[in-house]
């Protein structure tokens, strides 16, 4: 695992009713995560965190949710990735190392594949491990 240089906990709220199967829910804009390179993404459920930074209950089980992450050029670098596979709780504490790419969070989204275990107003939380563009240029040839 590469060392964690910077991280930011982002969330997607399910809304007042549980979205239907196949729904895509976009991440909101986090100004701190503009023009950054994604190193890794980690997903948590209530085994790790009970309440999100926005005060919402964290999703109990993320087994029915997949994740799609877009880069700055609108390419789907990670497409429909099972979010449970990004949860260190189920992966012996490890997180995935990704080849860094310029993340475009506002066009990235989660997809509801199954509503089992989901409740209204819960939040999907994801920890974004990132570096800035300047830091990326310093390490890209290493």
């Amino acid at each position: 695992m590469k060392p964690i240089v910077k991280s930011y906990l982002v969330e997607v709220n399910l809304g007042s009713t549980v979205p239907g199967v196949g729904s895509n829910l976009l991440f909101q804009d986090y100004p701190q995560l503009r023009d950054v390179y994604l190193m890794s993404a980690v997903v948590y459920d209530t085994n790790t965190l009970t309440t999100s930074p926005a005060g919402k209950t964290v999703i109990t089980a993320t087994g029915g949710i997949t994740l799609t992450l877009m880069d700055r050029f609108n390419q789907e670098i990670i497409r429909s990735y099972p979010s449970v596979d990004l949860n260190p709780y189920y992966n012996a504490g490890f997180y995935r190392d990704l080849r860094p790419f310029p993340l475009q969070l506002t066009k990235s989204f989660i997809t509801i594949q199954s509503i089992v275990g989901l409740s209204a107003n819960e939040s999907f939380v994801m920890n974004v491990f990132y570096i800035t563009e300047k830091e990326y240029k310093a390490i890209k040839n290493v």
Binding site: Y44, N47, Y89, N127
Partner: protein, 156 residues
């Protein structure tokens, strides 16, 4: 000849309450000022949980923590159930946020289940500890007199 830079370890105890008899409240609880950690490179960080446990639950150090009288104050070490309500935020020497709302339990060095490896998450950042804080995300839990224990692994 290759010279290895030795990693040092510093235990940091943070109290997450205002008064000894208060319940935990919403808000930020700042780390104490520990000059020896200022502007050093933090290469590892772990949360050490309280509550009854076996010695094998710990990676380093292999000493059990008592549940009372930490730092001379009455209190309990936060166990996993308590710690799930907390996140930790670190700022660098320029007061820029570097780790923002990192779940405390995600820093626990042991994962559930037998035969799971014990690991300490690798980091690489510099910080001024007194500007960093723990946030209570869920303050409805009736926990009082709570301490959070962290081990900082750092390079000079």
């Amino acid at each position: 000849m290759y010279k290895q830079n030795p990693v040092k370890i510093r235990r940091v105890v943070l109290q997450a309450f205002n008064e000894p008899e208060e319940t935990v409240i919403n808000g930020r609880f700042y780390f104490p000022d520990i000059p020896e950690l200022n502007n050093t490179t933090i290469v590892g960080l772990e949360f050490v949980k309280g509550g009854f446990t076996f010695l094998s639950d710990y990676y380093l150090p292999r000493t059990n923590l008592t549940e009372t009288n930490i730092n001379g104050n009455p209190g309990v070490n936060a166990d996993l159930t308590d710690a799930k309500n907390f996140t930790v935020t670190f700022l660098n020497e320029n007061n820029n946020y570097i780790l923002e709302n990192f779940p405390v339990v995600a820093l626990w060095n042991r994962k559930d289940g037998a035969n799971k490896p014990k690991l300490i998450l690798p980091f690489n950042f510099k910080t001024i500890l007194r500007s960093c804080f723990v946030t209570v995300q869920n303050y409805t839990v009736p926990v009082r007199n709570m301490f959070l224990n962290f081990n900082f692994y750092y390079l000079d």
